[in-house]
């Protein structure tokens, strides 16, 4: 009846997961109770859960990503403290638990923290920057989000029911085959990633279509803000490589569930094939994460230098170049598998060629500051911290791309330091910068500056104190994923790294405090103009928070910096453009189909993990039924009456007039 599921799946004998789960469940119950007691359910259901507004979905993505970032960080704290404690000692986490933690850490950070945050900002910003009212497929967008949330939920369920994979974030066979990992851990991994992967693929399709097809009048390709270009490049990569991930994991599932032999030891299976395929997805994946971050930095460098981006066209070229070459380098993750010298040479060189595109970008950002008026606001601090950190991460990446050098440090702590160097220094710093930058557009008030700066400095210092020792440990021969350490000499650096984690914790606390303080003091921090940073692209033409239809009338773009041009014209003529004729707007109606599908996807995933076949069948059928009902619906859109549009836009215009007056006075003063 219940497949493999039995009471022994609950970790009653293991205090750490047990206590964590109990606390977690109580917290969730508490939140649900509060929502019920306050009667917030109708609001949540109407305004968020069933919303197909790209801004709402973007915010929910960011919320999911932030919560998962904290979960992943908790794993990281456990790993670093275990290694510091387990030097010639067992530490407090036995292997079967420690191995789940590092596997969960990697999986959560990549799939459920970094991806949702990146996709969240993509969602929030892209339509605004393109001057349109929504993405190409709004309901599909909601389905994407809820499927991602479903995957995240499954990973967290594994904490309480059963176990998670103990194979690393990329489950290499044969270790991940049923013979060597008979438990449900790998199955949790497989279904969590598969379900969210479908969501991500649909996001990719959605955003390729949005950027290619949904630009406002005058927004030609070469007038798009840099962020939109990077969104396009990342989405193209998603469309190109997520099917590989899905297929590869499907093959592993067939091996595990039905005794196929794609990657098994025996009967002609080839585990190396898995390694090739997973990296054919895995390397492009890191660029899916970092390209949008590059886009964020481009926006920030230009805005906070008060200048257009330097070498816009060469930035576009570098982005597309990286997008293409990213798919031709995957073998650098296993130079040490003994492919011949010719193969290693080819992939070594193609890998280092990517660094050319990245290098060009770095110089273009630097020259964007040239002749500028650089304001060191929080987003700009993250961006400068990024240049410093990322350049070093890129450098160690190039060292790893030299096969004989990689022969010494592959899979070592040096490698761990490299990819955290680029992912934390590149992606995470970029996300924090982006969140600080676009927060006012989402919520109508800025984040507190002092706490933001504190968070930045603790993160920067904490990052280096944590990871610089790992570079050295790698050179001392320490390999990754050790549950305990047999070599006393590594103690000082492991301790130092733990100190770094302590600093990072302070940084994380600062972020939380920043959020709380900002909410409490939101009236002081209110952004009344809609243009808090003296921005240059169209999102700053809207009020903060942006109305659900984004633009009362479609903007008409005249140059490379859409909003900057409008603003200049207004300041020169000391008046806004004449009031347009307002017309009713058609907007997509809300839809519960995303939530509904994800609910049954979760049920199906859980059933497949525990091999409860009837439930899996039921879940699939129900999810499919949802699609059918959705496909037959008659009402797709509703009208926003012209008076309502006019009301919202007149408020915006009066705020702009006040801004204009202020700018005019400033202009007169200087």
């Amino acid at each position: 009846m219940f497949g493999k599921l039995s009471w022994s799946a609950i970790p009653l004998d293991q205090p750490i997961p047990l206590i964590t789960s109990v606390v977690l469940i109580l917290t969730i119950l508490g939140v649900l109770g509060l929502v019920t007691a306050k009667g917030w359910w109708p609001y949540l259901w109407r305004e968020w859960i069933t919303s197909v507004d790209h801004k709402r979905i973007g915010i929910m993505y960011c919320l999911l990503g932030s919560v998962m970032l904290i979960r992943g960080f908790a794993d990281a704290i456990m790993m670093r403290s275990q290694q510091a404690l387990a030097i010639n000692a067992p530490g407090y986490l036995p292997p079967e638990h420690y191995n789940q933690i590092f596997s969960a850490h990697g999986t959560i950070m990549i799939f459920f923290a970094a991806m949702p945050l990146v996709i969240g900002l993509m969602n929030f910003v892209t339509p605004l920057q393109l001057g349109v009212r929504d993405v190409a497929f709004p309901t599909l967008n909601s389905v994407s989000f809820w499927l991602t949330a479903s995957g995240a939920l499954l990973v967290n369920v594994s904490l309480f029911i059963g176990e998670f994979a103990r194979t690393g974030w990329l489950p290499y066979p044969p270790l991940s085959e049923a013979t060597y990992s008979p438990g449900v851990g790998v199955d949790y991994y497989l279904w969590a990633v598969q379900i969210s992967g479908v969501g991500t693929l649909m996001t990719g399709i959605n955003f390729v279509t949005t950027v290619l097809k949904m630009r406002c009048p005058g927004m030609t390709y070469l007038r798009m803000p840099m962020f939109c270009w990077t969104v396009l490049a990342a989405s193209l990569l998603i469309v190109a490589v997520f099917p590989i991930l899905t297929a590869t994991l499907a093959m592993l599932s067939l091996d595990r569930y039905f005794g196929f032999h794609y990657f098994t030891n025996t009967a002609g299976g080839n585990p190396m094939m898995f390694v090739n395929l997973i990296w054919a997805w895995g390397h492009p994946e890191v660029y899916i994460l970092v390209l949008p971050a590059f886009g964020i930095f481009s926006e920030i460098f230009s805005t906070f230098s008060g200048k257009p981006l330097f070498g816009y066209r060469s930035m576009v070229a570098a982005t597309l170049f990286i997008c293409i070459v990213a798919m031709m380098v995957w073998l650098h993750h296993f130079f040490t598998m003994g492919a011949g010298a010719a193969v290693n040479t080819a992939f070594g060189i193609s890998t280092s060629i990517i660094a050319v595109g990245t290098g060009v970008k770095i110089y273009n950002w630097i020259f964007t500051m040239y002749g500028g008026r650089v304001r060191f606001s929080v987003p700009m601090l993250w961006s400068l911290g990024f240049i410093f950190t990322f350049v070093i991460g890129g450098m160690t990446g190039v060292l790893l791309a030299v096969p004989p050098a990689d022969f010494l440090v592959h899979n070592s702590m040096f490698l761990v330091a490299h990819f955290h160097n680029v992912i934390v220094g590149g992606v995470v710093f970029g996300l924090f910068a982006g969140i600080d930058y676009w927060f006012p557009k989402a919520f109508g008030f800025r984040l507190h500056e002092g706490w933001g700066k504190a968070a930045f400095w603790f993160a920067l210092v904490g990052f280096w104190v944590t990871f610089a020792p790992l570079y050295i440990l790698g050179l001392q021969g320490m390999t990754r994923r050790l549950q305990h350490v047999n070599i006393e000499e590594w103690r000082p650096l492991l301790d130092l790294s733990l100190v770094g984690v302590g600093i990072l914790i302070v940084g994380a606390v600062c972020q939380v405090v920043m959020l709380v303080v900002s909410i409490l003091r939101r009236d002081e921090l209110r952004d009344v103009t809609g243009d808090p940073w003296d921005g240059r692209s169209l999102e700053w033409a809207t009020p903060s928070p942006a109305p659900f239809f984004n633009f009362a009338v479609m903007p008409n773009v005249q140059g490379e910096e859409a909003y900057w041009d409008i603003k200049l014209r207004a300041v020169e003529s000391q008046q806004l453009s004449p009031e347009p004729r307002y017309e009713p707007i058609e907007m997509p109606v809300n839809s519960p189909v995303g939530f509904y599908t994800a609910f049954f996807a979760t049920v199906t995933g859980f059933a497949l993990i525990w091999q409860i076949w009837w439930l899996a069948g039921l879940g699939l059928a129900a999810a499919f039924a949802g699609f059918v009902v959705f496909a037959w619906r008659d009402v797709h859109e509703f009208h926003v009456p012209a008076e309502e549009v006019a009301r919202v836009d007149r408020a915006r215009r009066s705020a702009r007039e006040a801004l204009l007056e202020r700018l005019g006075q400033q202009g007169a003063a200087t």
Binding site: S6, N265, K307, V356, G371, N411, G477, M478, N486
Partner: protein, 296 residues
């Protein structure tokens, strides 16, 4: 140093001291780390000025600096663009040269030049220990590798279960041990030394102790050791090998006085099937029963 090494050894209970890949004791490690340094230097020449330039630019053009001119529309310069593309391209051409030459020169499969013929060692990665077979000497060891200093060693490496990586940091290049496949690696220790070897690819619960002692000794001493080992102690017969294939952790070094000369072949071609994986009835099996997913 010897004292430190001895202390380290006592502490580790395993042998070898922790000094790493940049302190090689053989030609392969020396070449690898030389290449590492060459590439590092090339990169630093460009990375350090870049970082300084970034900070200088940000500081010079800070909004509060009245001396810096403001060029609100300046966003293109063909000359700077040319430089901006050339610098990374030139750097990468240098690095590309290093990659090309290095990959060929340090191909792990390539025999090392030497007057003495190489010592053959066959390596089998097991759950979770290393088996070393000396076909020329007719002996085998577990978690202990003895090699003659100054003589190249030719390793043939496979796995009897999951992926592992054979890695002796101070000897140089690592390489994967994969089931059903044989990788080759040529290394040499230049002088007598006590080194530490490990698996550099996570392979399951016992991975952290999947480490071994490497003793590089004078050739005569090696001969004496091999001679003494031969015929003494346990034999690596099929029963003993079947026992080895079962999962076990923290395995102390063992020397076998005799071994089937076809054993490695049989493992690599999977004539002998792969290791059984976790067996709940195995006393060294750790972890919760739920790890078998209710399958008993």
């Amino acid at each position: 140093m010897a004292r430190r090494a001895a202390v380290g050894l006592a502490a580790a209970g395993l042998g070898g001291c922790a000094r790493g890949v940049l302190d090689p004791v053989g030609p392969v490690g020396a070449d690898d780390s030389a290449i590492f340094f060459d590439a590092l230097m090339v990169m630093l020449v460009i990375v350090i000025p870049t970082i300084l330039l970034a900070f200088w630019m940000a500081w010079r053009y800070r909004a509060s600096n009245p001396k810096a001119e403001y060029l609100p529309n300046w966003s293109y310069s063909g000359r700077i663009e040319a430089v901006v593309w050339s610098i990374p391209i030139l750097t990468i051409m240098f690095i590309g040269g290093i990659i090309w030459i290095g990959s060929y020169r340090l191909d792990p499969f390539k025999p090392l030049p030497s007057k003495s013929p190489p010592l053959e060692v066959q390596v089998v990665a097991l759950d979770w220990k290393w088996l070393f077979i000396y076909p020329q000497q007719g002996i085998a060891t577990v978690n202990q590798l003895v090699v003659p200093a100054g003589t190249p060693v030719h390793f043939s490496i496979t796995s009897a279960s999951v992926f592992n990586v054979f890695f002796v940091p101070r000897l140089g290049s690592m390489i994967y041990a994969m089931p059903g496949m044989v990788s080759q690696l040529n290394l040499q220790a230049d002088r007598p030394a006590l080194l530490f070897g490990q698996s550099a690819q996570f392979s399951g619960d016992g991975f952290s102790d999947m480490q071994f002692q490497v003793r590089s000794v004078a050739p005569a001493e090696f001969q004496a050791w091999a001679q003494a080992a031969r015929g003494a102690g346990p034999m690596l017969d099929p029963a003993a090998y079947a026992q080895l294939m079962r999962q076990s952790q923290r395995v102390s070094p063992v020397t076998y006085g005799g071994v089937d000369p076809q054993l490695f072949q049989a493992v690599a071609t999977q004539a002998i099937g792969p290791g059984p994986g976790p067996q709940p009835e195995n006393p060294s099996h750790s972890g919760r029963e739920v790890s078998t997913g209710g399958r008993r």
